[in-house]
Symmetry: D2
Subunit: 344 residues, 4 copies
């Protein structure tokens, strides 16, 4: 059994990793760390784990020590130093935060206010979107797990960008996320009464996933891809739906675009391109690692609209982390991720 | 007291009209009609009205007869004939459906599958958006009350379109509505389990409010305005939020745009242009006749984003109908509509 | 115009008072006070009030000074001293908190940990349940507005207790409330993700409304009334539903009980006894000052079940406060409270 | 691999069985039947199963033929005849409906309006509550899977009833369920707008699970157990919480009761007795086969309150069915049911 540790195990990402890894047949959770809850059980925080998972929070060092692979579920900026040491000890590191999502240090600095502490680490690392970088992930020791919005928008656009089918400027991503995306902290914007029976945008044209998406897609086509990205909050727990508006270079035949998507994702078990006429919806991917993509064409205005959705905590975070783990460890990608969507 | 009747009083629009008109100080509800529930009380359908409003559903004819003004809350296509007769009897008619939202018969025919039965009626009628057509409304006998999405998108765009500040093509309206927008009928898409913890688009690039918005805005600027419009369902009862993406003709200064909006709406009590930096949210207009508008600029991509929201049952329907009634009858526009938003 | 001030105007109770009083035709809001937000506008906290109500938070003293009547919406324990001074200045005081809900100082001390600072005040004061104490309220200068759960349980039981129809011991009140009942503070139990798709009890057999209900009902029948009360949280914003289980002294005829309820509440506009066979539901009283009561009999077990519901922020708090104000000022009780329930 | 068929596979129970059985390592779904959808794929109804499970609905006969074990997820009354034939062919039958929940034909007749068609079948059959009847289940060919409310109330009461610790009369079960409990049909009571922001009771003192619970518990103690049972609807998809009020025969020490519960359920993996002071909540069992039980004592009134909760679709239905299947087939009870609760 491979020993897997979780650094920062008590936030939503950590807890979701524990929930999913508990039913993974090829790895064992070696330990979880928490500064705030050290010495306390995870089930004292998530009481639903009572007598199912009674892991006790330990120090980071202890967890790293006894693990072959570590997940880091930390606020941005805190992973680099830990990974630097862990790599020296030959641990595989999957960073669930933003520290290894960028190759461009200037971008990282601009949006996250920090430097790369060791450029070698960033050269070794890979952006952990399996549908884009599977072969690199297989050989990497450091994997930067993508952001939740970024995953949904990138999967929506990859076939178009790589096929050079749309204008690279003026893309619009109107995205909507459930409240788990804001995390476990108590804030005005996560107070029940402020979310329920409400809907609103936030961080308008100023969300950190914008440069992540732009960098990733620009690297694919070696052109400057630019998008306007606005996230909104839906009063639900889980799920992201991204409505992405693009301008085809020429007028298109939607059926041929559909074929290109099917071809592009034909070996991707977790990405389902829906038949034309169907519409992606969050309930159809909830509690699963799937991403659904539907395609729509506004002929009058030559706008190709892609609607993608996924569970922000799974394909948008913990599930994709485990998918990356499965790849780097040579397991079946489905291992631990085979749950069907909880469609109701 | 002016006598006001409601034709088709048992759907959501009819019930909301009754709810609001019950506290209007200058009109009296003369009667409501229903084919399906004739002879039954409204409170047998909406049991919350028990012993508060015990109106009995009557025939259309009886209601028209005893009213000075009638609201028609009917499926599209059923209003024209009734209005034709009512107008002859000098009744004022406010159609809550689509029959009098179009001046262009071809558009109406294309999207609703019907003809204008009497062109004179359509010439007399006015599109009932007070912020656009107040003076015409004042003198009209037939008012076509705008669609809910249409109201939110048009209020978002009017200052830009009339000021010739943006490209008229390529506008994108990504709209989200609560479930009351789908009405009272039992459908798969209004089953609780299908809505709750879900979010999805519907009628993608194929919703009937598209031509309504395009016609209205094109008439304003005497150019062809084109937009891509995608509605989505939010798992809440009430509210619409529209995120509208536009391309300014030149790069802009957001503050000057903000001033133009403030100027444009300075006499409009129900339209609030939020201070720069604020974001419109549905909870802030819920259960009220207000429309909130916030302005955002993506300088990198020269996209001006307008977020507008309103309560689809009030400013998007019954409230706007009453606002139109107040105008045509010479009352204060606020009469019966002064409720503050139920912010929680 | 009577000048009405609100001490502690920025919590949910204060904001709801402002919302409702803004449409009251016979009083004017003289001012609101807040320690935390002094100098700031109410609309900076509740942004939905933007340009509708731009009251600026002042000091308590200033608000008391310019008011004829004050509402106190403060944490328990803070009202007594303010009321003592205000009464000397001949102000009428309506305390929305618990300080004047008890006549029995021991009970107050046991559950709230404080003493009565001036026994004269408590002798002058009246428990502000209009259906029980209307005549006393009319003449009182200090009104202790009842708790939300207490109102719903007391209205459910008053006809039975005053008619000596049930056992006074062993009553069970299984109550359910929306999340606004927990207030505006950020707590684990009001985090959206912890409430949504959840349901749970809290303060089991240990909630402060228990002694309030017991004292009120015991005073009615001059016997010791005892109940087991368990509150639960519903993932909705507003509303309380109380399912109250009682044991009739003899086997009963439900129709005769129904008649007694109708008789008991025949002059109470805001209490609706539903026809037998109907069931109270929160949506039917939402956003209104009504209380619905339905009656059910389990003949097999001789249990008479009363289900009552109301909007916790209105009949359970601000609305009832205004009803009390209307009584004490000699207005129609409906003034400012005539809104029909927002049944959807 | 054991071949398992589902008769009536397209309702919520059938779909949930498919969802869970798809990840069961020791059985294979041989087929599903549907009269309404024969020839159509399950994924055309539950589009979230697209390209994950593409089972085609067949006839009942075909499914029975190729199965070793069948689940029957049918409206009450339709299972008996199918089971009669299936048993002759040596199939094991797990009835998810009510046809085999009763031993007392009169009760079944009174509440479901039908006769037992073959008394031998009912003699062979067992009530499938593993915590009560595990050894019988192991040897039975016909298992009547308990109702969802019944499971939650029975697990709450079993230790008390079997220990003769409480009065057998006057028990009160105030139960609350998510909307999936009402099934997939389109009804007024499952319309989103009627459920959302609402809470109400239904079938007050008249729900069919009452006699089921009474019979089961009466058989345990060989005395007549009587309860008043009122179900309510919570605006959530999944979950049941039952607040059960009992009267101890003597005043009690809660700690000793707690020990009795722990002892009673010590070998029951899926029933968790929470530490004293903790409160059961639906989110802690959601999407899992666990049942949580918390204990509370109102000393003043000598009422012992038990709060139990479970996921109505899993431990309350499909999960318990699979647990029964695992028992009768000699598998580990956890097989296919090891998912941790989705605590957010």
């Amino acid at each position: 059994m491979i020993q897997v540790g979780i650094i920062g195990g008590t936030g939503y990402v950590g807890a979701e990793l524990v929930r999913l890894l508990s039913n993974h047949n090829k790895v064992h959770i070696s330990g979880i760390s928490s500064v705030q809850y050290k010495g306390k059980s995870l089930s004292s925080i998530y009481t639903g784990f009572y007598k199912i998972n009674e892991l006790i929070c330990e120090s980071q060092q202890d967890v790293v020590e006894k693990s072959d692979l570590i997940f880091l579920a930390l606020p941005s900026g805190l992973s680099q130093a830990i990974i630097e040491k862990a790599v020296q000890k030959n641990k595989i590191c999957i960073d669930m935060g933003a520290d290894f999502r960028f190759k461009n240090e200037d971008l990282y600095k601009k949006w996250y206010g920090r430097d790369f502490i060791n450029h070698d680490l960033h050269q070794q690392s890979v952006y952990g979107l399996p549908e884009l970088n599977r072969e690199h992930i297989r050989k990497s020791q450091i994997i930067g797990n993508p952001g939740c919005y970024a995953t949904s928008v990138e999967l929506a656009l990859l076939p178009l960008i790589s096929g050079n089918l749309i204008e690279k400027k003026g893309i619009i991503a109107d995205c909507k996320s459930g409240i788990t995306g804001s995390g476990k902290n108590l804030t005005e914007s996560s107070h029940f009464v402020n979310c329920n029976e409400n809907f609103s945008a936030y961080k308008v044209v100023n969300h950190r996933h914008t440069p992540e998406i732009e960098e990733t897609l620009s690297n694919v086509c070696r052109e400057n891809v630019k998008l306007t990205f606005i996230p909104h909050l839906i009063p639900i727990n889980r799920g992201i739906l991204s409505t992405v508006y693009t301008t085809p270079k020429d007028t298109i035949d939607l059926k041929s675009i559909y074929k290109k998507y099917c071809e592009f994702y034909k070996n991707e078990y977790f990405v389902k391109v829906l038949p034309l006429g169907e519409v992606s919806k969050i309930s159809n991917v909830r509690l699963s690692n799937y991403c659904h993509i539907s395609l729509h064409y506004d002929e009058d205005n030559n706008k190709l609209v892609i609607i993608s959705c996924l569970d922000n905590m799974i394909k948008g975070s913990a599930g994709q982390g485990i998918q990356n783990m499965n790849i780097v460890l040579g397991f079946s990608e489905k291992e631990g991720l085979a749950a069907l969507p909880a469609v109701f």
